[in-house]
């Protein structure tokens, strides 16, 4: 948790003026404090909380706390913060022993391991060693047959980091396959349709009344096609350099095959490149991107980039049907707490969060760097993208997700 006790106390003091005699003003002040700390509380919840207090003996601290908790908190992640704020706000704190009833509340997550972020050169070494170790080990990785594409045997195991532009056609075909799968997903919900396969008894019945109960017209229904949106957020900073070419291929391919894809790249700042790669010809697209994107191959600030995205683009682009795909190695030079906060915000808004990490493929990789650590709890699918096989796995995952 990035929120310090000082910050909580600061807010407690800020709303001290609201506090008064009786529980109602105090509950109001307390929920303002929680709101300020980022817990979503509606007015009706605050009112319900003070109404609920009439039903219990407020002298029993644990009960009092349980009442406020059940009314004001509606997320597991917020529970720990609530407990801390509660203790600081309702200060007369009894000894810990009397709190055994609430012992089932999860405690704060342990401090994340402090990993030294390497300098640029070391990072490069690290990447290289990962890639080198891979070529030997990848043989026993799962073999997924790709029926539509046979000459891919050797290519499918080859790391994308050393891929030539002429091999890119193979990638495009893999992406095409993934994209068609996603685009043709059907929903379990049904709608009326003149050429549907199923008879809709409800409206058939309705129609038959005008013919005196004789069934003349059959109303039909069919399954809906789900329109899933995909938002791609791609890291193009220095540490991702050797994967960049592949990544553009990937973004370009997916966007041009699939309806409703929005593409962004980020390093220290975020740029929308949907319009830049909306063309039939990739070389031109490459050219345009390299001209207009600031900070290509620079440092990384994932948190700030996500914040920009959440503020400027997410409200209109991300809905409960949107799959957000972040492609990054997670090396973040920015403030990790910002990253965590923004990941959380994005996660709540979207349908599924996929994080693709090229480093994940290597056997000895563990998501230890701080950025990755902070982001992990909010990721639904943590996958690797480093070769064609991994793309197929990704395709399957995306397919399952929209199914």
């Amino acid at each position: 948790m990035e929120i310090s006790d000082e910050l909580i106390l600061e807010n407690v003091n800020r709303f001290a003026a609201l506090r008064g005699q009786g529980t109602a003003p105090n509950v109001l002040a307390f929920s303002r404090v929680l709101k300020e700390l980022g817990i979503k509380i509606g007015l009706s919840q605050t009112l319900d909380a003070s109404r609920a207090l009439e039903y219990v003996d407020v002298g029993r601290r644990a009960d009092f706390q349980a009442v406020l908790r059940s009314n004001l908190v509606s997320n597991k992640e917020e529970l720990a913060l609530f407990e801390r704020a509660f203790d600081l706000f309702w200060r007369a704190r009894p000894p810990q022993e009397s709190f055994t009833e609430t012992s089932d509340i999860p405690s704060l997550p342990p401090e994340e391991p402090q990993i030294e972020q390497g300098s640029g050169e070391n990072l490069q070494d690290l990447l290289e060693s990962f890639s080198a170790g891979e070529s030997g080990k990848d043989g026993d990785a799962e073999q997924i047959p790709i029926p539509t594409y046979s000459p891919s045997e050797s290519l499918s195991k080859k790391d994308f980091s050393d891929l030539g532009i002429e091999e890119s056609r193979a990638i495009r075909r893999a992406i095409l396959m993934i994209a068609t799968k996603i685009a043709t997903q059907v929903s379990r919900r049904k709608k009326r349709a003149t050429k549907g396969e199923e008879v809709d008894p409800r409206s058939t019945m309705r129609k038959s009344i005008k013919y005196g109960g004789e069934i003349i017209e059959l109303a039909r229904r069919k399954r809906r096609i789900k329109k899933t949106r995909v938002v791609l957020l791609c890291d193009v900073s220095g540490s991702m350099d050797c994967y960049s070419r592949f990544l553009i291929q990937f973004m370009y391919g997916l966007q041009n095959e699939l309806w409703g894809v929005e593409t962004f790249v980020f390093s220290t700042s975020l740029s929308r490149i949907t319009h830049l790669i909306r063309s039939k010809e990739i070389a031109g697209a490459l050219e345009r991107i390299s001209h207009s994107v600031v900070g290509w191959s620079g440092g990384t600030n994932i948190g700030r980039s996500l914040a920009t995205f959440n503020r400027d683009f997410a409200p209109s682009l991300v809905t409960h049907r949107t799959v957000v795909v972040v492609i990054s190695d997670g090396w973040d030079r920015g403030d990790v707490s910002v990253l965590e906060r923004e990941m959380q915000a994005l996660k709540r808004r979207c349908y599924k969060m996929v994080w693709l990490n090229p480093l994940l493929a290597s056997d000895n990789y563990e998501p230890l760097c701080k950025g990755m650590q902070a982001a992990l709890p909010y990721i639904d699918h943590f996958l690797s993208v480093h070769n064609l096989n991994s793309l197929v796995t990704l395709g399957r995952t995306l397919q399952k997700m929209v199914a």
């Binding site: 319900d48 219990v56 908790r69 997320n75 409800r202």
Partner: protein, 306 residues
């Protein structure tokens, strides 16, 4: 039990009597939910007894439990009401012989007699003296459209059927929602509910649950089972076992007349706890690597085998 003279203690005591062991905070929210008439959203890992709360509560309140199991594609027709088409058709055919007014027939076939009531309508109509307990199970499995629809029902507790008119709840049903958190529930729905997170039980609580459900269980075995579960839940399994698995396992061990756990017994009965091949494999590794201590509890408390 009359909801008027309910207290937290009574709820906890009654739940205990029905063999549901809960801590005071859960009893408090259940009590609140009944007294305030506000739905209760229970979240937690699979198998920690979310559904069980509603079931047991229906018994305590001596009322009917109406359960709506959510699934993808669940829509108003299956949750609320549907007209009984075959019966309607039959009626129309029969009417053809006589020469009755068509309008009269229509009013007739769209009357309550031809209505198939689904859980939500049933819960709102509530025929008994006490309102029923409505359990909306695994709400996270239904799609978002259904959630929006539910929001409407839960805020007004009334249902409008175009052909019949509006049906209002005489007394609000006691509503429980459960979620396994496969996706986030919308804020608007959450705001209408009390929220409680049910965590895995502590060692002591789980032991108490075992002792309540299986009074015949040996103390040493119960301790071993619970300590095993506590250790396993700390580890990185795909599906961590819940209380439901603990109970399954205990019942299997009792059936097999085992008085204590050893490696062989664990291997024979492991199917009660883990249901995935990867997890079974992982457990084998953990046991082989001596990372699970079967006697951890006995050592800690110095308990004597009985």
């Amino acid at each position: 039990m009359n909801p008027k003279n309910l207290t937290i203690e009574k709820v906890q005591e009654a739940l205990r009597k029905e063999k549901y062991i809960c801590d005071r905070s859960l009893a408090t929210v259940v009590y609140l939910s009944i007294s305030m008439g506000k739905p209760l959203l229970l979240e937690g890992e699979a198998g920690v007894g979310k559904t069980e709360v509603a079931k047991v509560l229906a018994e305590i309140m001596e009322t009917k439990l109406i359960r709506l199991q959510c699934y993808e594609g669940l829509d108003a027709n299956t949750a609320l009401y549907e007209w009984n088409y075959p019966k309607q058709m039959l009626r129309i055919k029969l009417e053809e012989v006589g020469r009755r007014d068509r309008g009269a027939v229509e009013t007739e076939i769209f009357s309550e007699e031809y209505l198939v009531k689904r859980p939500l309508l049933e819960a709102i109509q509530g025929n008994g003296a006490t309102p029923p307990v409505l359990l909306i199970d695994e709400i996270d499995r239904a799609d978002v459209e259904f959630e929006a629809f539910l929001l409407e029902v839960l805020s007004d507790f009334q249902i409008t059927i175009p052909e019949l008119g509006t049906i209002r709840a005489k007394a609000r049903p006691y509503v429980f929602l459960t979620s396994n958190r496969t996706r986030e529930i919308h804020d608007a729905l959450k705001r209408r509910c009390l929220y409680h997170w049910i965590d895995y039980p502590t060692f002591e609580k789980e032991r108490e649950i075992l002792a309540t459900k299986f009074p015949e269980i040996r103390e040493r075995l119960a301790g071993q089972i619970c300590s095993f579960m506590q250790q396993v839940r700390q580890m990185n399994f795909y599906k961590r076992p819940g209380v439901a698995e603990t109970l399954d396992w205990a019942s299997a061990l009792i059936m097999l007349n085992r008085d204590e756990l050893d490696e062989k017994t664990v291997q024979e009965t492991v199917g009660c706890i883990f249901k995935y091949r990867e997890d079974l494999h992982h457990l084998e590794e953990e046991i082989a690597g001596k990372r699970i201590d079967l006697d951890a509890e006995a050592k800690a408390s110095g308990a004597q085998p009985d």
